[in-house]
Symmetry: C2
Subunit: 529 residues, 2 copies
């Protein structure tokens, strides 16, 4: 069922010479399938097909795009156990996680299907002419969002479904009217191929132009590099490391025509522990954080990798209790030997920094590829001095910083790099006294949480998933939720355009019955011509 | 009244050693004032003040920001004749133009004042908790827009008021809650200083923090380079040449923390002449285009620098009539000798390209700094072959391309670089047959005009001023209209945040009485807690 080939538009193709296999980290063996990396000519054909498809796809109705997205969801479900099986074999994640992530993927596809079916997302803004206006008449101007062009999406290592082949970036781009070329993640090439097959089948069933979707295999950086530099590619979506995201951003911004890269990258997701909350509720908070730090082997972009409190007996007590609970957790399988090794190396590097204590004592009998959850501590002064301690350790890991006082806490927060999330654990009357702390944290994060955990990213319009660099390359956009569609579109204004030639979204009679701003008033009304 | 000094926050300062003067192009003499370029330490103080001011200014209410913006408008009007006089002396533009541009500047400031006073621009999106939801409860999420931080604005050469010191970029950034540091345009340093004085006075009257605004003089690139590379600067606004805008974009994207640059740059604003329109209405169109090409000495970013038609007797006739009308126009003063020389050089370079004819015959008695309007023609094949002909000639200039047929016309449009505007001159039944032409043009521009001229950029919400590169560095944003505020803000989500600690825009009781999306429904309603 898995061929190891690329989808160049609707056609399976494998003219390249480089091959690779995926890896089963739980069994610590290679999987059996052989994947063929896309060749230069295959990449060229995929881009050219996408560019041609764009001419048709950009004009397709919301209803048709909606049918396409729903059919993708349908075809993914039809893959059934075959998908769940390869997902587990290529990620070391559990079957339950696979099923839950598939559910999220389906939900995302359906959310975008609903969005484009309803149609108001194009943000139609109409200002009608005023020929009487002095000194010069006012022209008729009508603005809406239109797609940018062919988009490249890089599959994520830590979300083989929800942020990969048919994940959030792809769903948003297809909803926007942009053809998508996926650079499949090499760890999940089999999962990617099955999902790509589902997308291609859905495209054929719903009559989408050939080239609206392609799926390219690669184990190195060449395929991605060629794609991002290609003049017919108009934007890039990426989820992964700061190193990877920044490399793509650099490539894209150095092109003769620079293009936007939305890269959702690293984050240590600081959690601020204010004194009072720890007095009474340390059991509750230590339970929640033992879960949050170890969830999915700590391989979430919102993993709480940094906790910061003020030195006190209560903080000591919290650290002790949390460390005990986390130490009791069994190590769980990580995505790949390279990720496991990187986790072990970074954890080790952090633990030997000056002033750092490892409060979860590791036993020595580690299982290969299974990450042992760890809690480290350091005092505020050492943390401030040592930028090595500010970087993400991808895995079940958290570093707890013990500050001397509130001023040091504020200094640390102000100097943090940009973050996806920041969390305050506090009593609600206590937090009023820490306004400077909260303000400083707000300025560094995309989402701020009160008395909760950062893991668990709700897919909804009110979600912001993205933050000041390096959390993402452009804090003005989100990677999660239907508003992520605006990464792939741009506004166009039609001036004095004849009504019958306008796109339906802007016509007087409002044939799509969408919500529009007409001379400043938002309604579904028609315009009397 | 003009001191030649920099405003470092509220203080006039001139510790630097480099000095320069502005130039009166009409008289062809230097103006009397001596301007002192900002020194490194002055730049550092300005940025540091802006960063400190941001902590207060980001939290200031919409009402207070509105009062500040309105007071800036008020103080600019109070500058009265002194401003108009220096404007004319530093630009060679007429008094009428100065007054009209001041009117536009005031209108922009008041538009943003109204926007932030009303308050709904923060796009509050609220999704309330659902503790009953299975398998996991839904958290309460509330999203709104918050300012990015200190912004640098580069004054434009061609809009000494409306896109400079207190122009669109500054007004939008101040409205967003971002402190602004203006790198004043060296041609308009006196105009800039007077306007800066008005802004500082307004900031003092309305109690804004010191550092919310600074104005820096410079004649070279050093001041701008230091500003764009400074870690405390969070975004950049620029209006000018592709070369200048791209240089800033490169600096900003190579920073350790890349920041967004919105540069509104060059455009030739293609005008497509379809056959039927020229048959009957060539008099009307040639009148309108003689005006549009020569308006403001052709020094508008929306100047129609390229017209494209299909070879026919009607096109020949139109060219002849337009050329005659344009040749009759008296040369008008350009902004500066360097701009005049660049115009003459580029016009000359275009006129000697293979296949190019100059249809407006120049007399030889040119006045220094006065640009003589010119119409050139070339056939489609030569135009396609010669990229030298695709670039903007800043000034009263238009190149008319004569295509063999519709296919060649489509090919030319598809290969055009990104544009601020594209225009179709046609009968409305005729244009239906040219759908491919219109679709191709739509894909290259930010604003598409039917039977009109591209000059004249209405300041309103439905305006899109920006387009695919190199029209601007990010086609997803506009530089004109109140929606240009979203360049300087980012969303933040509050998760499970106590109501009394939320920003007013997100509180249950909706104290600002703004329009919000609450669980998908848009209203000014309160939320029952």
């Amino acid at each position: 069922m898995i061929t190891g080939k690329n989808f160049i538009g609707n056609v399976l193709s494998a003219t390249g010479l480089k091959t690779f296999k995926t890896f089963n980290p739980k069994e610590n063996i290679e999987n059996e399938y052989v994947f063929v990396e896309a060749s230069k000519s295959e990449i060229e054909v995929a881009v050219s097909l996408a560019n041609e498809a764009f001419k048709e796809y950009r004009e397709i109705s919301g209803n048709k795009k909606s049918a396409f997205l729903n059919e993708i969801a349908n075809q993914i479900l039809k893959l059934d156990d075959a998908l769940i099986e390869i997902y587990c074999k290529e990620s070391g994640l559990t079957k339950e996680r696979a099923i839950s992530e598939r559910g999220r993927t389906i939900f995302q596809l359906k959310s975008f299907a609903n969005l484009v079916k309803e149609g108001s997302w194009v943000k139609a803004i109409i200002e009608t002419a005023d020929v009487e206006r002095k000194p010069i008449p006012k022209v008729d101007l009508r603005k809406m969002l239109i797609p940018l062009g062919p988009i490249v999406v890089f599959g994520a290592s830590n979300f083989p479904l929800a942020y990969s082949t048919a994940g959030g970036d792809t769903a948003a781009a297809l909803a926007a009217g942009c053809p998508v070329i996926v650079k499949s993640h090499p760890m999940h090439a089999g999962t990617g191929e099955l999902v790509a097959k589902a997308i291609i089948k859905a495209a054929e069933i719903t009559g989408m132009p050939n080239g609206v979707f392609s799926n390219l295999n690669s184990s190195g950086i060449e395929v991605g590099t060629i794609l991002v530099k290609h003049p017919q590619i108009k934007a890039v979506g990426f989820t992964g490391s700061v190193q990877g995201g920044r490399a793509l951003f650099n490539l894209a911004s150095q092109r003769p025509e620079p293009i936007p890269v939305f890269a959702e990258m690293g984050s240590v997701n600081p959690v601020i522990l204010l004194p009072k909350a720890l007095q009474n509720s340390y059991e509750e908070w230590s339970d929640m954080y033992a879960d949050s730090v170890t969830l999915g082997s700590g391989q979430f972009c919102t993993n709480p990798g940094l906790m910061i409190g003020i030195k006190s007996p209560e903080l000591n007590n919290f650290i002790e209790v949390l460390a005990k609970k986390i130490a009791k957790r069994e190590p769980t399988c990580m995505l790949h030997p390279t990720i496991y090794k990187s986790f072990e190396t970074k954890k080790e590097a952090a633990s030997v920094q000056k002033g750092v204590d490892v409060v979860t004592k590791d036993s020595n009998n580690n299982v290969q590829n299974f990450g042992r959850p760890s809690v480290l501590t350091v005092d505020g002064e050492q943390f401030l001095k040592n930028p090595n301690l500010h970087h993400e350790v991808f895995g079940p890991f958290t570093l707890i910083v013990q500050c001397e006082n509130e001023n040091q806490l504020e200094e640390i927060i102000s100097k943090l790099e940009g973050q996806l999330t920041g969390t305050i654990i506090s009593n609600s009357d206590e937090v009023l006294k820490f306004k400077k702390i909260v303000d400083a944290l707000k300025n560094r994060v995309g989402r701020i949480i009160f008395n909760g955990v950062p893991t668990g990213v709700e897919v909804c319009e009110a979600m912001q998933h993205g933050g000041p660099y390096p959390a993402s390359t452009d804090s003005r956009f989100t990677a999660v939720g239907t508003l992520s569609i605006i990464r792939w579109v741009r506004p166009i204004s039609f001036q004095n355009w004849p009504n019958n030639l306008l796109p339906d979204a802007l016509k007087n009679e409002n044939p799509l019955n969408i919500s529009r701003s007409i001379n400043g008033e938002i309604s579904n009304k028609k315009i009397n011509s």
